[in-house]
Amino acid sequence: MSESTTGGRLKLVLATHDEKVLDVECDQVALPGRLGELGVLPGHMPLLTILSVGELRYRDGKRETSLAISWGFAEVADDVVTVLAEFAQRPDEIDVAGAKAEIESAYEVLSVGGREEVKEALAKLELASARIQVAERN
């Protein structure tokens, strides 16, 4: 990762199949990569990567905003970060109680369910935890 000397800014576009969630300018983006968090600054090399369930954060000046996303795909090119996600939620849209209830029910499935059910429950668990994390940060 190399920081641009021109002090440029990033453009962040986040789209799900149902809406364009974000189209903003910012200074820094942190993506939930498969292999850990991935920081993007202006001047980043062109990159295509798969994202996992987690928290997407971006910083504009001193303001940091985060969103919960699940399965995403990110492209970085020419200081434009494009994120495609299957699910994206802003903190103020997150229903913490609902997410907690989902975690409860996922745990129940984990103890009794079959292989497919466990897989599904794990995915749900992951997403619900990410949503709670995002909601609590803000």
Partner: protein, 284 residues
């Protein structure tokens, strides 16, 4: 000589029908708006995912993935997208006619029927149907598309099919739907379009692994898009069908009203003649 009461009754019945068609037209127009917005909202995602797949494919090296595999043996799978409801002009008939033509051309075809009308149409016909889904269109969801796509991806990967095609009504404008046929599998990446940039990307993880993750989702999205298009086209078709039905009803009411007035006048004339000739008879 038509009976006055009969004509009045007919006028009333046509008026009732007209009210229904008018209401249906209005409902379709409202739903069409929403469906249209829905389609527009998917555009950014569509553009980006196509660009990314094109980028991956245009890297020159051979990419291997079951969903890209072109093969000769195996059956065809035809996805037929009809509506759940009728009264939409030729919307359902068009798509079903084309589907039957395609099946006649290559009998080694399995059908996947989306929409109740298609399922009803093929229920008593001798074609092999893989599955049919019949209440998708009260509200198209991504989850529905995913369920359908998962099934297709698995069977294609098992080499049951060599090609998966979809036939559906594409939404062109408020007034026009176009019957459209698209190949879904094997996926043919758009390598020649201007959308593909020449940027040398760093991939993380490896391109083949990204592809494995991306392609099934691309198919899901394609099916989602087809469902939305068909839904919008159905509403548009219903809107114009109901619009002309309403107009026809107006014409019929005008005609019947004219007939009614003529009959009424004739009856009055007859009565007058009777009265006058009665009076004359008394005078004489």
């Amino acid at each position: 000589m038509p009976n006055l009461i009969d004509i009045r009754r007919r006028i009333r019945s046509v008026k009732n029908t007209q009210q229904i068609t008018k209401a249906m037209k209005m409902v379709a127009a409202a739903k069409l708006r929403r469906a249209q917005d829905h389609i527009l909202a998917t555009r950014p995602y569509a553009l980006e995912i196509r660009k990314v797949i094109g980028n991956l494919a245009s890297r020159g090296e051979e990419l291997h993935h079951p969903l890209l595999e072109v093969r000769d043996e195996g059956k065809d799978l035809l996805i037929v997208v009809s509506g759940d409801k009728g009264l939409a002009g030729s919307f359902n008939a068009n798509v079903l006619r084309r589907a039957s033509e395609l099946v006649d051309k290559s009998p080694e075809t399995d059908l996947l029927l989306l929409g109740k009308k298609g399922a009803d149409f093929y229920r008593r016909r001798d074609v092999s149907t893989r599955a049919s889904y019949s209440s998708l269109f009260s509200g198209v969801t991504y989850e529905d598309a995913k369920k359908i796509a998962d099934d297709i991806v698995q069977s294609f990967a098992r080499r049951e099919y060599r090609r998966v095609t979809v036939v559906y009504n594409q939404f062109k404008s408020m007034l026009a739907q176009e019957l459209s046929e698209e190949q879904l599998l094997p996926i043919e990446p758009a390598t020649d379009t201007a959308e593909v940039s020449a940027t040398a990307y760093h991939f993380e993880p490896a391109p083949s692994s990204i592809l494995g993750d991306l392609l099934p989702r691309y198919l899901t999205f394609q099916i989602y898009r087809v469902l939305l298009e068909s839904q919008a086209a159905e509403h548009a078709a219903r809107m114009s069908a109901m619009d002309s039905a309403t107009k026809n009803a107006s014409e019929m009411i005008d005609m019947l009203t004219l007939q009614y007035n003529r009959a009424r006048q004739a009856a009055i004339t007859t009565e007058l003649i009777e009265v006058v000739s009665g009076a004359n008879a008394l005078d004489g």
